[in-house]
């Protein structure tokens, strides 16, 4: 069996990256294995848990459901690319810490990326809209209490900016 490979090039967290991958290799595995960005987590590999969420050309997508070759030429942002340059935490990340929005932290990158994109597009969501926006990600530790509070806090904070 001849293994096919393809060249992919994309900008990841502002840095141009290249990799040689099998066409069937997912974007999530490429980010984790070829680019060493292990913040993108795999909780199900079938598109339900949201742990693998990254931004591709600004849109939050499930990196377990996209092949790396589909992201060729794209601008990708992972959880590692959200904190301000020079360290510290983004507003969403700060809100998660403040509100105890994480315990084991495995689901956290997916929530942080999803919420960052959602609040960028919906600066003044209602509580119900926020719950709905968060319902595409699964967390087993927090009972969502801290996550919902963090989302509210981050939404409020974004209004201020």
């Amino acid at each position: 069996m001849e293994t096919q490979v393809a060249q992919v090039a994309m900008t990841v967290n502002g840095t141009p990256r290249r990799a040689t991958v099998e066409p069937r290799k997912t974007l999530a595995d490429t980010l984790r294995e070829d680019f060493g960005l292990t913040g993108t987590h795999l909780g199900c590999e079938h598109g339900v848990c949201g742990a693998c969420t990254v931004l591709v050309d600004g849109a939050a997508i499930r990196a377990c459901l996209m092949f790396a070759v589909q992201a060729d030429g794209s601008e990708v942002v992972t959880v590692e690319g959200l904190a301000p340059a020079g360290g510290g935490l983004s507003a969403v990340q700060r809100a998660f810490r403040e509100e105890h929005g994480l315990q084991c932290g495995f689901c956290t990158p997916g929530f942080v990326v999803s919420l960052t994109a959602y609040l960028r597009d919906h600066p003044m969501p209602s509580g119900a809209e926020l719950r709905d926006a968060l319902s595409g990600n699964l967390c087993r530790c927090t009972g969502y209490q801290g996550i919902i509070a963090a989302a509210r806090r981050a939404a409020g904070g974004m209004e201020d900016q």
Partner: protein
């Protein structure tokens, strides 16, 4: 009420968060070792059958395949496996990492393929062909008990995995003979699972030259992992290094390495190359361990005022094929804990655990919790038969402050519990009486509203091997503090809370502490993070070590300052003469003297600024809580909406209230998930039907009620006053919710005794 300290009692934000929030955690799947191979399992698609042969030829021929191992290749040379907590002679399923001669559930691992890449590993696994001659599945627990023709484990001669005989008493017989009312009901709980968001996984590396095994594992207890590797491979424990980095939840599933982990460790030893296995979600749901499937029949004898006079319990547990640990039975714990928050003068508790051809049971947050699930539903059912409000019936039977110390019918001794207070606090917080009025009015208008309560007493488990934990506290040369512990925090926030305890008692700044855990080469022995024991046992060790180091630092400072130790005070990482701030010597200065400037120190001044202590806890410390839920049931769709959810908790002195509430919330949602959404379904032929997140439904943020908390703070008798509380949220939420649903359905004359209480189940009950 205890006054909060500088750190203890404060909702300090977590130390672990910045790395986890920015994608810099280090979970097991992030580990890459040079030369590492990837493992995938070939699993049985048949629930029960004879394994006639395994054709591995095509798989072996695939480029990149290093090995395809079946039982015949993997098992020779392996030694018996047993868990420390269970002991060597405890009843258990036969130990075999891979299926050998027959398969005993869908998912039973038949072969292990070890390949250059994970993608090709899965290709190779698909090429392995197992020839299985089906046998009748063993599924029905009651039928399986008497069945000697169809055995899950033929070598055991019976499907009975364990039995706890009833220990009756003349008092109990008398209680039933003279009861004004005897109520009997059987409650069923369905199969659901831990489902940590990170599945199981490990990287194992055998160094043939040094005869050393290194394992990076997603585990709740690296030392137990090491012990089991040592037993199975016949290696001395110090030759094995188990390292846990960040772990993405466990809830019991990662307390003990199971068959797959052991198979991977055996494979690395055989192949002499590092092997990584990361379970996928399908495998995790199919074969990672299930829980909760059991039934319990409760008979209560009561006098005419509703006082319980005696209780008989019979439990039937489905432990699947290969339970972990031991035989998977939780009956021993359940029998001790059953009386819970009530005065029950006489009790008998009988149980049987049954092997079936399904995935084995594993520990899940409050593994014995059926006792609370059944007991609390029984209280409501009895109240209904008596025509009494369930709150009133609980008030009549609950253990009050005047009853303490109280010895239960099962011999547990409570000294510092407060079930009556939490009952009243929860009732107050949820507005019990006002809700009853609203409910009556809404019933007139056809709305089905209900309220449910559940009380429980939660043991932190520190008996036997769980009874001690160790901590090393070291003042480093720069005056900062290393805290090295035998804990295995995997979401419980111990990196923060243990540092809070040390900062409080050592007198240093919290930011000066660096917490290290999870490497058996360096940390004190620890029994693992589980059993709600960390706030009791681990915090006890941290406190004891901090105080011992503080004493040493004070002795050193006293020698330097030529003052009496009793005149010194420690604050903010400095020691000085009380009332003379100018005299204060920073820890950095003292450390410099001890490590480098010791020639100038007076004779006898201590230079060893490192202390290791082990704390030995009493076998049980009890916390307690009351959960209260209000719901609305839609009679047309069967949909249950949770209107409010209140938890009143007494876990003694809280180290970090934010973390306590987080633990409660996580447990509550797991319980809600269990009652309303989660169901690991097997069809009538023994095939699992819910092996993806599209079928096995976890609650999301959209289904999560806002949880409201009340705290009662009754210090335990331990130094520090803490009690464990990690499991209770998942223990009391199912009965609280079930009671609320049944209360809502009461006008229709319906009382559900089976979970899940899904819309379909409720509609079925409503349809005559």
């Amino acid at each position: 009420m205890t006054v909060a300290g500088r750190y203890v009692g404060q909702s300090v934000r977590r130390q672990e968060d910045p790395r986890l929030l920015t994608g810099h955690g280090r979970y097991v799947d992030d580990i890459v070792v040079p030369g590492m191979l990837h493992a995938a399992f070939v699993r049985s698609s048949v629930p029960h059958g004879l394994l006639r042969g395994v054709d591995t030829e095509a798989a072996r021929a695939l480029p990149g395949v290093a090995a395809v191992l079946t039982a015949a290749e993997l098992h020779p040379g392996l030694h018996p496996m047993w868990q420390t907590m269970m002991g060597q002679d405890a009843p258990a399923a036969p130990f075999r990492p891979l299926a050998d001669a027959d398969v005993r559930y869908v998912g039973d691992p038949i072969a292990l393929v070890v390949v250059e890449s994970r993608y090709i590993a899965e290709d190779a696994a698909e090429l392995v062909v197992a020839d299985i001659e089906p046998l009748p599945p063993v599924l029905d627990t009651s039928a399986a008990l008497g069945d000697t023709a169809s055995l899950v484990h033929p070598e055991l001669g019976s499907n009975l995995a364990g039995e706890l005989p009833a220990a009756g008493s003349p008092e109990l017989d008398a209680a039933f003979a003279s009861a004004a009312l005897v109520a009997t009901e059987t409650f069923h709980q369905h199969r659901y699972a831990c489902v940590p968001m990170e599945t199981r996984g490990l990287v194992a590396q055998w160094d043939p030259a040094g005869e050393q095994l290194t394992v990076w594992a997603a585990t709740q207890g690296p030392h137990e992992f090491r012990a089991i590797c040592g037993r199975v491979l016949g290696l001395p424990e110090p030759r094995i290094r188990v390292i846990m980095g960040d772990v993405g939840g466990g809830f019991g599933q990662k307390m003990f390495p199971m068959r797959e982990e052991i198979a991977v460790v055996a494979a690395t030893r055989q192949l002499g190359r590092p092997v990584k296995w990361i379970e996928d979600r399908n495998e995790n749901l199919l074969g990672g361990g299930h829980a909760r499937e059991e039934q319990m029949t409760v008979s209560v004898a009561a006098d005419d005022a509703g006082h319980f006079t005696g209780v008989r319990v019979e439990q039937l547990e489905n432990v699947g094929a290969y339970p972990f640990p031991g035989n998977g039975s939780t009956a021993m714990a359940g029998s001790m804990i059953f009386p819970g928050p009530y005065r029950i003068p006489a009790l008998s508790y009988a149980a049987r655990a049954v092997y079936t051809t399904t995935c084995g049971r594993c520990a899940y947050r409050g593994p014995w919790m059926m006792e609370t699930v059944a007991r609390e539903q029984m209280v409501d059912l009895l109240a209904r038969r008596l025509g009494m409000d369930p709150l009133e019936l609980r008030r009549r039977n609950v253990i009050t402050a005047e009853d303490l110390p109280f010895t239960t019918a099962s011999g547990m001794v409570y000294e510092t519990v407060s079930p009556a207070q939490t009952l009243e606090q929860a009732a107050e917080l949820i507005g019990y009486d006002a809700f009853r009025r609203e409910q009556a009015a809404e019933r007139e208008r056809g709305r089905l509203l209900g309220i449910g309560l559940a009380l429980y007493i939660e043991p932190s488990q520190s008996f036997g091997p769980l009874g001690t934990d160790g901590a090393t506290v070291r003042l480093e040369p720069d005056g900062r503090v290393a805290l090295v512990m035998g804990t295995a925090s995997h979401g419980q926030s111990l990196e923060t809370t243990m540092a809070q305890v040390v900062a409080e008692h050592l007198g240093c700044d919290l930011g000066d502490i660096t917490f290290v855990q999870g490497d058996t080469a360096y940390v004190p022995y620890g029994a693992g993070t589980g059993g709600s024991r960390s706030a009791v046992v681990a915090a006890g060790a941290a406190r004891q070590a901090a105080l011992a180091l503080r004493e040493r630092i004070v002795t050193l400072a006293a020698a330097v300052l030529e003052a009496a130790p009793s005149d010194l005070e420690v604050a903010s990482s400095a020691v000085g003469v009380r009332g003379d701030p100018a005299s204060a010597l920073p820890f950095a200065k003292l450390a410099g003297l001890a490590y480098f400037g010791h020639a100038a120190l007076p004779e006898g001044a201590p230079v060893a600024l490192e202390v290791t202590e082990r704390f030995k806890a009493p076998p049980f410390t009890f916390s307690n809580a009351c959960h209260a839920a209000t719901v609305e049931v839609d009679a047309t769709t069967g949909q249950v909406s949770i209107l409010r959810y209140v938890v009143s908790e007494d876990c003694g002195v809280m180290i970090n209230p934010m973390v306590v509430e987080g633990q409660i919330a996580g447990g509550v949602l797991q319980g809600i998930g269990g009652v309303l959404y989660e169901h690991m379904v097997y069809d009538g032929d023994g095939n699992p039907l819910t092996t993806t997140f599209l079928d096995y439904l976890l609650p999301t943020a959209a289904e999560a009620p806002a949880i409201e908390y009340g705290h009662v703070e009754t210090a335990s008798r331990l130094p520090g006053g803490a009690k464990g509380m990690g499991e209770g949220g998942a223990i009391a939420s199912p009965p609280a919710l079930a009671n609320a649903i049944n209360d809502a359905l009461a006008p229709l004359g319906i009382h559900l005794t089976r979970q899940p209480m899904s819309p379909a189940a409720i509609v079925a009950a409503l349809t005559p």
